[in-house]
């Protein structure tokens, strides 16, 4: 498996990952129903941006999953992960997340947050494995937090 930073040329690969997910997976990713992806929306997640870091995983030429961190300020980033249905249980999410965390640490980020629906058990397993904890509960969604430094977390 190759995990590398996402590039504008990955537009088709990223779209292929999104389209290879189930309706439930997409609801967990976007918190609403999605069955088609506008080119602008896909492009937003592959273009080179100052406020987003993305990693993408391939098995040979086959795109398997991607993770993004939207940079909310100079200390905190918000996570989103998507894994193609056929690439589940192969460590794709973990690999993308580890690569993303390494990049965030290099840039001095201190907190990675993630909003996830309670029923998103695949993410729950991934988050717990990576050391996230639930910071707050907001009805049907949980806000998970991972401290990226050993220093005390700043107040949220």
């Amino acid at each position: 498996m190759l995990v590398r930073p996402i590039e504008p040329s990955d537009e088709d690969a990223y779209r292929a990952i999104l389209e290879a997910t189930s309706a439930d997976d997409r609801y967990c990713r976007f918190f609403h129903f999605v069955d088609h992806f506008d080119p602008e929306e896909v492009h937003r997640f592959v273009e080179t941006r100052a406020d987003m870091i993305g990693m993408i995983a391939f098995d040979g030429a086959v795109p398997m999953g991607a993770a993004h961190a939207a940079l909310l300020d100079d200390k905190t980033a918000e996570l989103a992960i998507v894994v193609a249905s056929g690439a589940r249980h192969l460590g794709v999410g973990t690999a993308c997340l580890d690569a993303l965390i390494a990049r965030l640490k290099e840039r001095g980020f201190r907190r990675l947050i993630a909003c996830a629906l309670r029923e998103n058990s695949p993410f729950e397993h991934l988050a717990q494995h990576a050391g996230f904890h639930v910071e707050t509960s907001d009805g049907a969604a949980l806000r998970w937090v991972l401290a990226l430094t050993a220093e005390p977390e700043p107040a949220s």
């Binding site: 439930d24 609801y27 609403h32 929306e41 909003c115 029923e119 509960s137 049907a140």
Partner: protein, 567 residues
């Protein structure tokens, strides 16, 4: 705080640790027929059957069902309004050894089809009315459904007399089209083969479908022990000195739909257990209910807040003599304090709020009829039930009583699990065997439970559970819709009403609420239908593109706060 602070709040002589009788559900009717045989059991449209007659009709139905192949393991659907057919068929199925599967006339076609397949319903009882029969005929032969027992409104003209009618050919022969008249189900002498229930905790009485935040409804497996334990719990909560309820002397007006667990368990079964007369109304008509409460000297009345709101708005209520009412219960949704207080002022009777859910048969908490009461609380745990609170951020741990957490309940009324869905069952059970309810609350030092939030995306509309995701999925199939998110907004009558925020596809033309309702008609249940729509260029999202329902809720709250107060 003690782990069971509610025990000291029990009104004497009722006890939390009272022994709870459990057994076959149909024995409730057998006992009522023995004790109160000549007392009225059911009244419908002016026709009245005694407990002896109801018992005889149930026995005949049991024999008729057995002639159709019902025996232990066979699942029989009831797709009926509140008519005597329901009581006769319900007890008939259980006496025949079968399991009842309840179907809601509110359900959309695809939900009905799912329930038939998932529950393995092979025989179903319905009525020959346009709102019911065609929906099930569409499934006959295209699903596992092979026989429809079809009642008619003309059955009702003489239903008590069928108990004494001469036996004829019976229901053994099913017409080629799979239809069997309800009357022929009763055309026998009632000598059915009894299947003793050795273990009521294992034998399934009812599959009661309930929705979820994701996917199609799941069947809660309610055993004979679950339902009879719930009866025992309800009865114990009314055991006071001097007694409030007297077996054989009570009368209820049953207007809650019998396919709903609240009506089935807390009204129908409880009243049969009490030997009470059940006056059936097919639907909630506020004038008819108000007049019958007085004219028929109702002593027990169970409803949902929506009904009490409507009753309080009924102009003639204050002139009616409602002094016969001994007990009024409210469930299905939080009871607004204002409604509770106005009801007391107008009728002189307390509205007693309780909480429960399908999975708890549905007992859970109750408000003591005498002694301590607390505004805004749904009461204390019913006898034999223990309530704890799980952390909302880590459901594997409990928070101390007094702190907010997800309400978890354990007791003999808690379901065996979800039908053929071990994963869903595991998802709602804690390691120590408590049911996670999805409701968030806390318990005070006297054991009173206060519900403050919900951790599942669910609305309570007129007493029905409504899941926004189901509505979103249906609206998203509209060709003009790019994005949709549904939240609950306050509704004075229904409690909550679904509101959809919609972003249209580029160039798409906005549509009206009525047009959307027309589009959704065969996709959503009547109870799920959208109440308000609002078009937006885009919906609020987090930085990574997740829709923020909290932002929509906050916007709605701000809008309401800014709106001029009603006078």
């Amino acid at each position: 705080m003690s782990e069971t602070p509610w025990i000291s709040s029990y009104p004497s002589p009722a006890r939390w640790d009272a022994p709870l009788a459990v057994g076959p559900v149909y024995e409730i009717l057998d006992t009522a027929a023995q004790r109160f045989g000549d007392r009225p059991a059911v009244e419908f449209m002016g026709r009245r059957a005694t407990y002896r007659q109801l018992h005889a009709l149930a026995n005949r139905a049991a024999k008729g069902f057995q002639q159709l192949g019902v025996r232990p393991g066979v699942h029989v659907g009831l797709y009926l309004p509140n008519t005597p057919h329901y009581l006769v068929a319900f007890f008939g199925v259980l006496k025949a050894g079968g399991t009842v599967v309840n179907y809601s006339p509110l359900d959309a076609a695809q939900v009905l089809a799912h329930k038939v397949e998932d529950s393995e319903t092979s025989i179903l009882v319905t009525l020959d009315v346009p709102t019911l029969l065609p929906q099930m005929e569409a499934l006959l032969g295209t699903s596992g459904l092979r026989t429809l027992v079809v009642g008619g409104l003309d059955d009702l003209a003489g239903f008590p007399e069928y108990a004494d009618a001469a036996a004829s050919n019976g229901a053994g022969a099913v017409a080629k089209d799979g239809h069997v008249p309800f009357r022929s189900l009763l055309a026998n002498e009632g000598a059915y083969q009894a299947y003793p229930i050795d273990n009521p905790s294992e034998s399934i009485a009812v599959l009661q479908y309930t929705g979820g935040t994701t996917g199609l409804p799941k069947g809660a497996v309610l055993t004979h022990a679950n339902l009879t334990a719930a009866m025992s719990q309800y009865l114990e909560t009314t055991r006071l000195e001097p007694p409030v309820l007297t077996p054989g002397e009570e009368r209820t007006l049953l207007v809650l739909p019998l396919f709903h667990i609240y009506s089935l368990s807390a009204v129908m079964l409880l009243c049969v257990r009490l030997g009470a007369e059940i006056i059936l109304h097919t639907r909630f008509d506020v004038e008819a209910v108000a007049k019958d409460l007085a004219a028929k000297k109702i002593t027990l009345f169970m409803g949902v807040p929506t009904m009490f709101t409507a009753l309080l708005a009924y102009p003639g209520l204050a002139e009616l003599d409602l002094t016969s009412i001994k007990f009024t219960g409210s469930g299905g949704a939080p009871l607004p304090l204002e409604v509770q207080e106005r009801f007391r002022t107008v009728t002189g009777s307390e509205l007693n709020e309780g909480w429960g859910m399908t999975e708890t048969s549905p007992s859970g908490t109750f408000t003591p009829m005498r002694g301590m009461r607390k505004a805004g609380s749904c009461g204390i745990p019913v006898p034999g039930a223990t309530i704890k609170f799980a952390s909302v951020t880590d459901p594997t741990t409990y928070v101390p009583l007094g702190e907010r957490g997800e309400i978890c309940i354990k007791g003999p009324n808690v379901m065996k699990g979800y039908w053929k869905n071990a994963q869903a069952t595991a998802d709602v059970m804690t390691a120590d065997g408590f049911l996670r309810t999805g409701d968030v609350g806390y318990m005070d030092a006297d054991g009173f439970v206060f519900i403050v939030d919900r951790i599942k995306d669910m609305l309570l509309c007129g007493g029905y559970n409504v899941y926004p995701r189901n509505i979103e999925e249906a609206i998203y199939t509209h060709p003009a819709v790019a994005e949709v998110s549904v939240i609950g907004i306050p509704d004075e009558y229904r409690g909550q009403s679904p509101k959809a925020f919609i972003a249209l596809k580029p160039g798409a033309t906005p549509f009206s609420l009525d047009e959307l309702k027309g589009f959704l008609k065969d996709k959503l249940g009547k109870h799920e239908m959208i109440g308000v729509i609002e078009f937006r260029d885009s919906l609020p999202k987090t930085a990574v593109g997740k829709i923020l329902k909290t932002a929509l809720y906050e916007e709605e709250a701000q809008r309401r706060a800014a709106a001029p107060a009603k006078v």
